[in-house]
Amino acid sequence: MTIHQLSIFVENKQGTLIKVLQLLKEANVQLIASTIADTVEYGIYRIICSEPDRAYEILRDQGISVALSEVFALELDDKVGRAADTLALFSKEGINIAYMYSFLLHGKGILVFRTDNEQHTREVIEKADLKFIPEKDLSKY
């Protein structure tokens, strides 16, 4: 139901992103999706990649502020309104989305998000029998 995501603390300054990406490249880790949330002073760079545990260790050992967290990753059919219908399920239950982004994997739409109540979110996903992607699908392709 959840997959691992790397969250990297980045300063709004030239060269910070390229350093992270270069390290992942050298370690032969594939980037699958990424997004930057920025405040005025700093950003949080969130990455979905192959071998997140190994990638986490590599970045940490290089002195980069990185956290490994679990996020929900649902698979959505390629049809109009799927995201709206899915989010409505959580909204009805009073669950708030902290952040969300999406990407395509093997031609399928993937919705990645984090909520303010992890347990409750799991129950909603099980009850509605929503499709989610297992982490093994994120290995290199």
Partner: protein, 434 residues
């Protein structure tokens, strides 16, 4: 222009030296018998009160520092019994301990006298109405100016700081003729009045008494042209008394020190040896008449000169030049004394941050601002922006409770602050003081 106390302010050099010698002997005798701190210091030096008879003998006495006040917190250097103390002021101090100064009724009377001298020297009379916009409360600025102006007989509007719009309206409506505040607050007020649409020609302002923070000739000109008044400098420090220790006259060539109450010296801050007239060094004061907390040779850490020559205004009190800097790392932000070590101790108390920081002081819209840059520790970094923001807020709250200033906390990537060998320079002061 008028002189408040001609007998004292214009006394001859010989007369003054004789008076200072008598008063110095008396205060030394007084602290020897009433302040254990000074008695033991003098005993270590083999000194007795009778060894101090004239002003030349002052060099035999020990120095007093801010650290001594801290070590003897809160009342260790107070000489008068508690029953004689009628007021206590507290200023910010390093490592969270404020400096406590107790005043007897006589001290308050002398303070009111010296402030009346200063304001008379600025041209203030009983017909003036003065707005005091220094902070009232534990800070000496507000009440110090207030009592002196009342003593002089002019009207006081105790405006204190904050609520600039209401203040601006009252300056206009009540036909206020003078204002006492920090120079940066004066500029802030000028801006407020301009925004509200008041033209300086509609105002009755004519005299400004500014102090509590360093300022410059260009700031003086700007304040004068924007508020349509003549701006004077008033200097003081709470350890010695508060505002009024020295003041400008109409000549505006340095500030006259009230030498019948405070004996000034300039010393080399490194060798501690006395320096001559017109040489830049650290200003040192001995209180000659104080009862509550008399201090011997208190090191102000302010760097300036004592000027030679006579002032055309007729006052014979020695003049001190503009404050050129500090011999320690104290910053004055919005008139509040801030030591980087105070902020450092707050940062060290929060495990979320590395013990590295940079303080950036700036002046935005004529008000001082303080930004604190800190590095978040890698193990405290989370995916959640709100958690990081809560660290920032907690640090800002703690800082405010220690120095009473709202600082902006900026979180940096670990390792982004350059590590320096030994005691680094953590302060960037972008305020241009020319």
């Amino acid at each position: 222009m008028a002189v408040w106390n001609y007998t004292k302010e214009c006394m001859s050099a010989d007369e003054r030296a004789a008076l200072q010698g008598r008063r110095l002997h008396r205060v030394v005798e007084y602290v020897y018998h009433n302040t254990p701190f000074y008695r033991s210091k003098m005993q270590e030096l083999g000194l007795e009160p009778n060894d101090i008879q004239t002003v030349e003998d002052i060099v035999k006495l020990p120095y007093t520092t801010k650290q001594d006040l801290r070590d003897n917190y809160p009342f260790g250097l107070q000489a008068a019994p508690k029953s004689e103390i009628v007021r206590v002021h507290a200023s910010t101090g390093t490592t969270g301990k404020p400096t406590i100064v107790g005043y007897t009724r006589k001290d308050i009377g002398i303070w009111s006298e010296i402030v009346a001298r200063a304001f008379t020297s600025f041209g203030v009379s009983r017909d003036d109405a003065f707005s005091v916009a220094y902070g009232y409360g534990m800070f000496t600025g507000g009440l110090g100016a207030h009592y002196g102006i009342e003593n002089l007989g002019a009207t006081v509007l105790p405006a204190s700081t904050g609520n600039s719009e209401k203040h601006a309206r009252l300056i206009h409506d009540l036909e206020i003729t003078g204002i006492a505040c920090t120079p940066s607050y004066a500029l802030h007020l000028a801006e407020t009045m301009e925004k509200m649409g008041y033209d300086k020609s509609e105002l009755k302002l004519r005299i400004g008494a500014f102090g509590a923070e360093p300022w410059t000739e260009s700031m003086r000109k700007e304040i004068e042209s924007r508020l349509g008044l003549k701006a004077y400098n008033i200097y003081g420090l709470s350890e010695i008394m508060g505002p009024g220790v020295s003041y400008e006259c109409e000549c505006q060539e340095g500030s006259h020190i009230n030498e019948d109450h405070f004996f000034p010296e300039i010393i080399d801050p490194k060798s501690l040896s006395p320096m001559g007239r017109d040489e830049v060094g650290e200003l040192v004061f001995t209180t000659l008449t104080k009862e509550g907390m008399p201090l011997l040779r208190y090191r102000t850490r302010d760097l300036c000169t004592l000027m030679s020559g006579e002032c055309p205004c007729g006052r014979t009190f020695v003049r001190m030049g503009r404050i050129l800097g500090r011999s320690d790392d104290m910053l004055i932000i919005r008139g509040i004394n801030v030591f980087p070590s105070q902020i450092e101790s707050v940062i060290l108390s929060m495990p979320e941050f590395e013990p590295q920081y940079i303080l950036i002081v700036d002046r935005v819209d004529n008000l001082d601002s303080l930004q604190i840059q800190v590095e978040i520790r890698p193990q405290f970094f989370t995916d959640d922006v709100r958690t990081i923001e809560s660290f920032q807020k907690r640090l800002a709250d703690k800082i405010r409770s220690v120095i009473s200033i709202n600082a902006v906390v900026r979180v940096l990537f670990p390792g982004s602050i350059e590590r320096s060998q030994g005691k680094g320079n953590h302060v960037i002061d972008n305020r241009i003081l020319k």
